[in-house]
């Protein structure tokens, strides 16, 4: 029931939002329903003993062997929690942003949430594909309508890129469906399919390309910096904190259990690509002047580490990656909120045009420094836990990957600290002379993130407990 509610709430309230023409009302409405989803999710987490609440099954397309099956296991709940946790923060921190036809904007945002939650909860191959696409369509309209100057060309590129991937995945799913013994798309039947190594090898690529484009893993990342830059920041937050997790999550949920032999066959390829992506993106991030592009490239680097860690096939790598799903979402959200606050106040995101903000906006500066330090995975912050485990896992898999990948930690410290220095310290200029500090709800949003950063950094055990089931299952597959 909880699983169903999580999808239905944003779906229905999103449709209702289309009809609330008044800007203030629609903003309040979206914020309240986002909080409602968070409440439902919290309730679900607090009653872990009742398994019925987390499974939902209804007939949908009996001829096709597909049913409307939802299932919330530990990993799903981590990602659902991240989604419902992010949405109120996104709405609160972008409260002051003005959008033409706000009713459509907020309606589409909520529909995206429904799609995302559906992806994380679906326990049926075809249903998963449905939600996978449904999360994309509202984002297409959001970016194309409210984005920057080059939005139309950039968004269609993004859309076609991901559409190619998802269609390839669909072909793979249909192929698997015909191999099941009971002609069913249910997750269980698909897991039980016995495939030859040869079949697994090419099925691996059909699925992996779809997920790699979404993450994105080098060299499938070219849509990402442009899209992040051109989208309105609220949408960028959804894209980078939540939507990229679809790809990572799908690797754990579908790719590894479906084609384990394929995963073993190509693990070096994937990890090499990921490590190359980490270094490459870090180097590019150092050269950016635009804050949005900087965070975009830094995000590619972080995602690269997670995707590498998912393929190392040992406990610490998998644990670290899944913990990092959550931590990365929180941290990158914090980064985007800061970028949004800066852009709204100064009308520019160019680091070269900013400087000296810290003197007049101390609260913003302090909060940013904490978020930025979490971004470079300093101990006591949440990202440290995950990154440490992932590097540990990578090290166990092959020393060289860990050594080369480790460079990206240094590089990330370079570009993050340089950003803090350029934007917040140094001398004021005419753009930043009239700086005012952020107001209470912007402080509150960032404060929530800072609290999450420290809590997860000091006491990550609850998340460990949630993902352990999935980690054990995956290690079991490889045995």
């Amino acid at each position: 029931m909880i699983a169903l509610l999580l999808i239905l709430i944003p779906l229905i309230t999103g449709v209702i939002a289309f009809f609330i023409k008044d800007e203030k009302q629609v903003k309040t409405w979206s914020f309240v329903v986002a909080l409602a989803s968070l409440t439902v999710m919290t309730f679900g987490l607090l009653t872990p003993d009742n398994p019925d609440q987390k499974i939902f099954l209804a007939e949908w397309l009996p001829q096709l062997g597909s049913s409307f099956a939802l299932q919330m296991d530990g990993l799903s709940s981590v990602l659902c929690l991240l989604t419902v946790f992010s949405y109120p923060l996104i709405f609160a921190s972008t409260w002051k942003s003005k959008y033409a036809s706000p009713n459509i904007f907020y309606g589409l945002m909520l529909l995206t949430q429904a799609g995302l939650l559906g992806v994380f909860l679906a326990a049926d191959g075809l249903l998963f594909y449905f939600f996978w696409e449904l999360a994309l369509i509202p984002v297409y309209f959001l970016c194309s309508k409210w984005g920057g100057e080059k939005r139309i060309a950039v968004t269609i590129k993004f859309f076609i890129y991901t559409f190619v991937g998802s269609l390839l995945m669909l072909v793979g799913l249909i192929y698997l469906y015909y191999q099941t013994t009971d002609a069913s798309f249910s997750m269980q039947s698909l897991y039980e399919v016995k495939l030859t190594v040869n079949q697994q090898a090419w099925l691996f690529w059909l699925f992996f390309i779809a997920f790699a484009i979404k993450m994105p893993v080098f060299p499938f990342h070219t849509w990402q910096p442009d899209t992040y830059e051109q989208s309105p920041t609220a949408v960028t937050m959804v894209l980078s904190a939540l939507m990229v997790k679809m790809g990572l999550f799908a690797v754990v949920r579908w790719l590894i259990p479906l084609v384990p032999a394929g995963v073993i066959m190509f693990d070096h390829v994937v990890i090499s690509l990921s490590v190359i992506g980490m270094i490459y993106a870090s180097i590019l991030a150092m050269q950016q002047d635009d804050l949005k592009r900087l965070v975009a490239y830094s995000s590619i680097a972080h995602i690269g580490l997670m995707s590498a860690a998912l393929f190392v096939n040992n406990e610490s790598g998998l644990q670290g990656a899944m913990i990092q799903f959550f931590s990365h979402g929180v941290n990158v959200l914090g980064m985007w909120i800061v970028v949004e606050l800066i852009e709204r106040q100064f009308g520019t995101r160019k680091m070269s045009e900013l400087g000296g903000i810290a003197q007049k906006a101390p609260a913003l500066a302090i909060l940013l420094v904490i978020v930025a330090l979490a971004n470079v995975a300093l101990p006591l912050t949440n990202a440290f836990v995950g990154e440490f485990l992932m590097f540990n896992g990578l090290f166990k898999f092959n020393v060289w990957y860990a050594a080369i990948g480790g460079l990206s930690i240094i590089l990330s410290a370079v570009y993050t600290l340089r950003m803090i220095q350029k934007v917040f310290y140094g001398n004021e200029n005419e753009v930043t002379a009239k700086t005012v500090d952020i107001n209470w709800y912007e402080k509150a949003s960032l404060a929530v993130i800072v609290v999450a950063i420290f809590v997860m950094g000091v006491y990550p055990k609850p998340v460990f407990a949630l993902v352990q089931e999935t980690v054990t299952m995956i290690l079991g597959i490889f045995k």
Partner: protein, 459 residues
């Protein structure tokens, strides 16, 4: 059977009412009544209640698939009349005759859907084609239309010749015109005749459904013909010829797939490639839709390629999804003056409802989930995957589907994201209501395709 008779009769009725009824605008109403009658009698057929229960010595066969397909087609015809009836009347001075010709085409469609004998197939294809030559040139003062009609006629006559030749060869091989007899002689001494016959008939059918490399007439004819009739040709007629194509290959050549499947696969790949890639470069929406219809034919060819149960269900869904979406787009396009993509700029601001329905139609054509087009593509691709061979073709097809997103979305971009003074479109309230109905249909089929497919097993 009832449909074949009544559509022919109603065509005659329409022609004569043109003589006696001076009021031009009655034409649409009479035609609409005719279409509804066709739907009703066809539903009776589907329920097994025939008025004239004869299969004419086995020359026709009434399988559920063919009858259900006809129901879908007649339903699409009703939608077409409702949305574009007024525009048909406005083409020229002889509205009754246009409607009469459309009914004659429907008679041919009935024959093609239910044939069990090669001669009936030939008859059906000809009855479909000849009225179309006239409709293409219906706007007599339009030079482009005249050129298109002449071109269509010459090319069409040529392909008809090839088809007859193919039928002659098949007769030489099988000593029968009956479709089911063609299969039995496989491995026979006369096999070579059968193979030549299959190739020739494949070429002529590929011509009729505008599959590459026999598609060259399509853009010119679709572009030159009055837009209302383009809508009719590109949807109802094209889908109907496909059922003949599928039935012939499934019932006639089903045991000889090794002889022709590779060729169909190549034709499919070529059609997808040429249709999609060329559509990308079009500036006029009408011409873009012409190429898109070639591309969509590529997907429907998958059904002919796979010839299993899944393929039949897929073609049914495809016909419905493709016809509904394309008829909807054309119905709006007819009412516009500027057919270029820029002509759609800013439409969403002025006509939000129309823009939303058009978007839905375009999404359906692109095969995005939650629209009918998704399940249409799903079924035909699944049918091909089920055969277990030629997986490269399926992967190629989905890449081409991604290309199609580019040109369909250009129209969406123009409507929603580009500024511009949108053109004035004259629309009645009932027209808008119908568009909403169309949207509901597309979404319903996109969530529950079984609502249509269940009819295959009902009763």
């Amino acid at each position: 059977m009832n449909l074949i008779l009544i559509s022919a009769l109603w065509g005659v009725v329409m022609m004569f009412s043109g003589l006696f009824i001076k009021n031009k605008s009655a034409a649409k109403t009479i035609a609409l009544v005719g279409a509804v009658v066709l739907l009703i009698v066809n539903l009776f057929d589907l329920a097994g209640k025939m008025i004239i229960d004869s299969n004419f010595n086995g020359m026709l066969q009434y399988d559920r698939f063919g009858l259900l397909f006809l129901t879908v087609i007649v339903f699409a015809l009703i939608i077409y009349f409702l949305l574009s009836g007024k525009d048909i009347e406005a083409v020229g001075n002889h509205p009754y005759e246009y409607f009469a010709l459309i009914f004659f085409v429907m008679c041919g469609v009935g024959l093609v859907a239910l044939f069990n004998n090669l001669l009936i197939l030939f008859l059906g294809i000809e009855i479909i084609s000849i009225p179309l030559y006239i409709l293409t040139g219906a706007d007599k003062k339009n030079l482009k239309g005249n050129e298109a009609a002449l071109k269509y006629f010459l090319m069409g006559a040529f392909s008809t010749g090839i088809m007859l030749m193919g039928i002659a060869f098949l007769y030489g091989g099988a000593a029968s015109f009956q479709v089911e007899k063609l299969n039995l002689t496989a491995g026979d001494n006369f096999m070579i005749f059968l193979v030549i016959g299959i190739v020739l008939i494949m070429i002529s059918m590929a011509f009729k459904v505008s599959a590459a490399p026999f598609h060259f007439w399509t853009p010119d004819v679709y572009d030159g013909a009055p837009t209302v009739f383009t809508s009719f040709m590109a949807t109802i007629v094209k889908a109907s010829v496909f059922i003949g194509f599928l039935n012939l290959f499934a019932n006639g050549f089903g045991t000889m797939t090794d002889k022709w499947q590779l060729t169909i696969a190549i034709i499919t790949a070529l059609t997808l490639f040429i249709g999609n890639i060329t559509a990308v470069y079009q500036q006029s929406v009408k011409r873009m839709l012409a190429y898109s219809s070639i591309a969509q034919a590529g997907f429907m060819l998958f059904a002919v390629f796979a010839i299993n149960d899944m393929a039949k269900q897929g073609l049914l869904l495809y016909a419905a999804a493709y016809c509904f979406a394309t008829i909807g787009i054309f119905a709006v396009l007819v009412k516009m003056k500027d057919y270029t993509i820029e002509g759609f700029n800013g439409l969403a601001k002025k006509e939000p409802l129309v823009a939303a329905v058009l978007t839905l139609c375009l999404l359906s054509l692109a095969g995005i989930p939650l629209t009918a087009g998704f399940f249409a593509k799903y079924f035909v691709l699944a049918a091909a995957i089920k055969t277990g061979t030629y997986l490269w073709l399926v992967i190629f097809a989905v890449l081409m589907a991604a290309v199609s997103v580019y040109y369909y979305f250009r129209v969406i971009q123009a409507m929603y994201f580009k500024e511009g003074e949108s053109q004035h479109i004259e629309m009645t309230t009932s027209f808008k209501a119908l568009l909403i109905l169309l949207a509901v249909l597309i979404i319903t089929l996109g969530v529950f395709p079984s609502l249509l497919l269940n009819w295959l097993t009902l009763y």
